[in-house]
């Protein structure tokens, strides 16, 4: 099915969520023939691709190397005081979010794919919307809404005449609160993959189940659900990866986890080694997650035994059941998108644009500059790597690409630490050498520079562009190269007249996806940004930390609006890429 993949979300509708582009572990799974289509002398590309892959994986190796560095005093202090809390909180968070996204994601996916009720088509699309809301933005809104002085509790007190201590109210600033708000923005990963898996199952298989004596419900639980299991597991682990790397939400809700710990150790205690060791443990959690996902999926990569597809025979729901299904699908949209988005909008309206207009624009300009630059670089690098594999399809280039894409599984704070340590070392060494030799100081050349920040973004989001570019390049089959060459085109003309027009739209998509991810990025930016340099995400975070939630709404809402772009792309891709349809349409 490789060649049939759609541009935006390769394999989204094909169940093997390992290649999910929007959020994913970059397993480059395209199987290529050994034939390169008559290209010669291409070793240089391959070497270049390997160099880039190595460069991009430096931060991960740096952090990993700190596992072997002997512990210092600060580390011992951490172990004595907070480390257990970090581990316990992280585990609770992972557990809570895992349950939450499973229930919401699979439940809604089942309802919209297997049942028919009024509003189904709209909900099917709308359930993706929470994807546009960064975790920190939902944390700001719920934090503001549900805290003691927030409108909800104030209203309750007003209505019932209660005062503090008279009533119990769930504490939003807790592990549980964080898990709930995270689940409401992260469930779409599970929803997307589970929905795709349910959809792509050939109805024939389910119908065979029914002829073998299973009721509709039993066919679903004994055939459809087990078949969808690999996709669901992948969806959950993607959501959990986001949970592990989240910084803004847990920091705002006062939950001490590894990401907040790294930050505190780095800036508060000023101990790089200890921060890196925390990062290494976090990295270990991530790898555990990846391994867990692989093991749980196990050999359960189901292949379709039937190539026939038909529209799913949905069960019609009526009356109360239809209303219930409608509500069940509507509530995640309300809680994960409409309510936080609406609250942000209300705050923006409330404060007007006068108060922070100037700074908002400056920060927006910074965000645009960083996102534009990083997305251009990420796409260029992805092109380089994809062509490296295409021209030299050998195990070395393939694994180099795989390593280069690993950054997506690694939390931003870990990447930032992995970049800052070698850069600081370089700056200090250079500075020391210049002072000793020439008596001049170079100061900090690379650390805290925009270049370092761009590098971090490319490391973190390369997988997004790589998967998209890779999938689009796979649409240009080696046979097309062969045909173009025999029709009189040299290699350059083949690239210009066949490759470029086919992959150009996907390059735009890839750039756009990276762009939005960079706009949303918070922890790496916080750690690596130059002095007094803010982005929208950092600006919103700083205001929210100062309890200026209303002022934080404008930058946060801007990010949510930008986040709607990939959601739109995604729903477009989903509506186009249905299994069972013939070859993907590539219209200019």
């Amino acid at each position: 099915m490789g060649a049939e993949r759609e541009t935006i979300v390769p394999a989204l509708n094909h169940g093997d969520g390992g290649t999910l582009a929007i959020r994913g572990i970059a397993w480059v799974t395209q199987h290529r023939g050994r034939q390169g289509g008559g290209w010669r002398n291409t070793g240089g590309w391959g070497a270049l691709a390997i160099c880039v892959a190595l460069l991009v994986s430096v931060p991960i190796f740096v952090v990993f190397a700190y596992v072997f560095v002997p512990a210092g005093d600060v580390w011992r202090h951490l172990v004595d005081t907070v480390l257990v809390a970090y581990v316990v909180n992280t585990l609770w968070l992972v557990f809570g979010v895992g349950i939450g996204v499973f229930v919401i994601g699979v439940g809604t996916a089942w309802l919209v794919t297997m049942c028919r009720f009024p509003g189904r088509a709209l909900l099917e699309w709308g359930l993706l919307l929470p994807l546009a809301v960064p975790a920190y933005a939902i944390a700001y809104t719920y934090g503001g809404l549900l805290e003691y002085s927030g409108p909800v509790q104030s209203a309750l007190r007003g209505w019932f005449g209660w005062s503090r201590g008279d009533y119990w109210f769930p504490e939003i600033r807790s592990v549980g609160g964080a898990a709930v708000v995270l689940a409401f923005v992260l469930y779409p990963y599970v929803y997307m993959l589970a929905r795709a898996a349910f959809l792509e199952q050939s109805v024939c298989v389910i119908e065979i189940g029914r002829t073998l004596g299973r009721s509709p419900w039993r066919s679903f639980t004994s055939i459809a659900l087990p078949l969808a299991r690999p996709a669901i597991v992948t969806g959950i682990s993607l959501a959990l990866m986001e949970t592990l790397s989240d910084f803004g939400a847990v920091q705002h809700l006062g939950v001490a986890t590894f990401t907040t710990g790294i930050f505190r150790t780095w800036f508060g205690l000023g101990d790089q080694a200890a921060a890196a060791q925390l990062a290494a443990i976090l990295l270990a959690f991530v790898f555990l997650l990846i391994v867990g996902e692989r093991l749980t999926r196990g050999r359960a990569q189901f292949h379709h035994t039937s190539r026939r597809y038909r529209a799913l025979p949905r069960y019609s729901l009526h009356g109360g059941w239809a209303a219930l299904a409608f509500l069940a699908c509507l509530s995640p949209i309300i809680l994960g998108f409409l309510l936080p988005g609406g609250q942000l909008l209300a705050w923006v309206v409330e404060t007007g644009s006068g108060s922070s207009g100037g700074r908002l624009w400056w920060n927006a300009a910074n965000s645009l500059m960083l996102a534009g630059g990083a997305s251009a670089i990420a796409v260029a690098v992805a092109l380089l790597l994809a062509y490296g594999v295409r021209l030299n399809p050998n195990p070395v280039t393939k694994s180099a690409t795989r390593v280069a894409g690993l950054g997506y599984a690694v939390p931003g704070s870990v990447i930032a630490v992995g970049i800052l340590i070698p850069l600081a070392w370089f700056d200090n060494t250079l500075d020391g050498w210049l002072r000793a030799s020439f008596g001049v100081s170079s100061g900090l050349l690379l650390s805290g520079s925009v270049a370092a920040l761009m590098f971090a973004y490319v490391v973190r989001f390369l997988a997004v562009s790589l998967n998209t570019v890779d999938a689009s390049l796979a649409k240009v089959t080696p046979n097309m190269d062969g045909v173009a060459r025999t029709l009189g085109m040299g290699p350059a003309a083949t690239v210009a007249r066949v490759h470029a027009p086919i992959i150009a739209p996907s390059l735009m998509t890839a750039a756009l996806l990276v762009f939005v991810d960079v706009m949303k990025e918070l922890p790496a930016t916080m750690i690596l940004r130059p002095f007094d340099f803010n982005t929208l995400a950092v600006y919103a975070f700083e205001l929210a930390s100062d309890e200026q939630l209303r002022e934080a709404a404008a930058p946060a809402l801007t990010i949510v609006v930008a986040g709607l772009i990939p959601v739109a792309l995604l729903s477009f891709a989903i509506s186009r890429a249905r299994p069972g349809r013939t070859q993907a349409a590539v219209r200019p």
């Binding site: 050994r34 009189g488 040299g490 590539v586 200019p588």
Partner: protein
């Protein structure tokens, strides 16, 4: 370019090719005259597609040489790039450019004239192949058969000297395949290009080819007309790959091998284990009692009327696998009937059992 009939359109002389040290072609010799259609036939992995890629200039060669219209295009360390070879190439998946309309796909390789002239030339070819009404469509809306015609038109548009077709009909369903095959054949003959067609389907090779080159493990094991290959196979492989056969084990004795259905010449040492390959139409059935010729008694265990002929499965007395026979007069051979069978030496072949099938 005027084509001289004495000069082969495509010539392979002792061509060897390796992928990562694994030899795929081992000294391939092949010659195709202009206007001739040669089928390269063989099981998958025998190197037939690689020969095609070598001819197109998509793979280099390590030994031998390749000539197109009397011009050397490849030798070890030298290869004319595909775009300067004047070859047309067509793949099983057609590889139509998805971003170009049908007419622009075909015009892609036309070299002479301005854009309008190129499109005119393309439209003419599309009309010749009966798909001009799709000129403005994108390839994905076309059916398999239509895509095949467009791919053929595209490959023919630059007026190639050599046409290379890689399993060009295997993507089509059976009924469509026959039509498309006939049309393709007609156009290829009309334009008098040297055609190399790769297939694993012996029936297709027999239908299409002036000459068939049977290939195995990177070498051509036998080449000739369909009739030659079918009725005079030179090896056990050729006998069994080219059409159905019944196989009976035996031992050579005084230059013959004896079977219950008759004896066959077996010019091998006494005691040599041999196999007798009998085509289904090489078994003659006799309803009456045996005459003077050696024949074996058998029972019909299955009988299928296939229009003018009848396919019969027979159980011969003794320790033999059931045999398949293809006979006329379908009405005569009912299941359960006892008959005498006799083999036709013209349609049976003997090879040593040591030869691989």
């Amino acid at each position: 370019m005027t084509v001289n009939a004495a000069v082969p359109g495509l010539l392979f002389a002792g061509v060897s090719h390796r992928y990562d040290r694994e030899p795929v072609l081992r000294g391939l010799d092949l010659e195709i005259a202009p206007g001739e259609i040669t089928c390269l036939l063989g099981p998958s992995g025998c190197g037939k597609s690689t020969s095609l890629r070598v001819a197109a200039g998509l793979e280099p060669i390590q030994e031998g040489r390749v000539e197109i219209a009397d011009v050397e295009v490849a030798r070890p360390g030298f290869s004319v790039p595909p775009e300067r070879r004047r070859v047309g190439l067509m793949f099983q998946d057609y590889a139509l450019f998805p971003h170009l309309r049908v007419v622009d796909n075909v015009a892609f390789g036309v070299r002479e004239g301005d854009k309008a002239a190129k499109r005119r030339a393309a439209t003419e070819l599309l009309a010749r192949l009966g798909v001009e009404r799709y000129a403005k469509d994108f390839p994905h809306v076309l059916s398999g058969g239509e895509q095949q015609r467009v791919a053929l038109a595209r490959a023919l548009a630059p007026r190639p000297v050599v046409m290379l077709l890689d399993e060009p009909f295997s993507g089509l369903d059976r009924r469509l395949r026959d039509r498309v095959r006939t049309d393709t054949l007609e156009v290829l003959r009309e334009l008098s290009v040297a055609t190399l067609l790769v297939t694993h389907d012996s029936e297709e090779a027999m239908l299409m080819a002036d000459r068939i080159a049977l290939m195995r493990d990177g070498v051509i094991v036998q080449s000739g007309t369909a009739a030659e290959l079918y009725s005079r196979p030179e090896s056990a492989f050729a006998a069994s790959f080219f059409g159905e056969v019944n196989v009976i084990e035996g031992t050579a004795q005084s230059g013959v091998v004896a079977t219950p259905m008759g004896t066959m010449a077996a010019p091998y040492e006494d005691g040599c284990q041999v196999r007798v390959f009998i085509r289904p139409e090489g078994l003659n059935l006799d309803a009456g009692p045996g005459g003077q010729a050696i024949s074996a008694e058998a029972e019909i265990i299955e009988s299928h009327m296939l229009g003018p002929i009848c396919l019969v499965r027979l159980k011969v007395a003794g320790n033999f696998e059931p045999l398949t026979a293809r006979v006329n007069e379908g009405g005569l051979w009912k299941t359960g009937k006892r008959v005498r069978i006799r083999l036709d030496p013209e349609r049976s072949f003997v090879f040593p059992a040591s030869q691989e099938m």
